[in-house]
């Protein structure tokens, strides 16, 4: 690899991390559904497992709009990124810790996330976003007593 290629790889790793950081920030309540969806490629996919799979910006935005009504407050603590860049393609995994107010009850959320991205027109776009929900527990119970609260209920 040339020195320029090596510098580019470092820069793109940071650029991808910045896009993912922006994703998390748009979800800190109030959820900015339009800004969140705009970070996806047009045919991007968001796979939330039991909470559904959403394809395309419109469907993604609509789902996030729905979250706004259920989650009056939350913070997304995203870090522990492992990003691999290969030319105009990238894959990433990271850890997320969340502190939502779900229907009037404080919760702790423990998640891991994954994404694929593509660079088009000098910008990185999310082509897929996924997550593994390890726990979403009422604050006064913890993840052993109640591992998951249904967030869409």
């Amino acid at each position: 690899m040339s020195l320029e290629d090596r510098v580019r790889t470092l820069e793109e790793t940071e650029a991808v991390r910045r896009v993912l950081a922006a994703v998390g920030a748009t979800c800190d309540a109030p959820y900015d559904a339009a800004a969140f969806a705009a970070l996806f490629a047009e045919d991007g996919v968001m796979d939330l497992m039991e909470m559904g799979v959403y394809t395309g910006r419109a469907a993604i935005q609509e789902f996030i709009e729905g979250m706004r009504t259920k989650v009056s407050f939350t913070m997304h603590y995203w870090d522990g990124y492992a990003i691999d860049v290969n030319g105009g393609d990238a894959t990433a995994t990271w850890y997320g810790f969340e502190t939502p107010n779900l229907n009037g009850t404080a919760h702790f959320g423990g998640l891991t996330h994954d994404a694929t991205l593509k660079k088009v027109d000098d910008r990185w776009w999310i082509t897929s976003l996924g997550q593994n929900l390890h726990f979403m527990s009422p604050y006064d119970k913890g993840w052993v007593k109640q591992r998951v609260t249904d967030q869409t209920a």
Binding site: L3, E4, V7, L10, E11, E14, R18, A21, A22, G24, A25, F73, M75, H76, Y77, W78, D79, F97, T99, N101, G104, T105, A106, Y139, D140
Partner: protein
Amino acid sequence: MAELEERVQRLEAIEAIRRLKIKYAQLCDNNYDPLGLTALFTKDAVWDGGGLGRYEGHDEIRGFWEVASKSFTFALHYMIGHTIDVDPPFTVALGHWYIWEPATVNGRAVFLAATYNDMYEKVGDDWFFKQVKANLNFFTPYEDGWVKTPVMKTA
């Protein structure tokens, strides 16, 4: 290649500023070392914590740290999810961070959650804080949580 040199400088600046913030965290967690922390700030720096107070210049900033450890007897400053913006000539930069902070305040376990908007300045070879603005999300006793008690009274 001047351009490649500049691109490397930007990456180095991001890493140096990231380290500065972690050093700040480590000094806070070491009983808010007042001299160590103050040395990370420019002479005209401002630390603005909203309800936690606003301090300008080394004397006021050092005074704040001297008092902090009397009520915050334990803390872990988990600095998370940073974005750092720096451009040529790499003498000023902006940063945004999340902080998740378990702490013991006046004998009570608490969770403090906030975000930071920082301004950094390079003096000589080193980066310093020019402005730290902390935006509190919640400050809650362990037993309550942030819905029951979003911001506790410390008196």
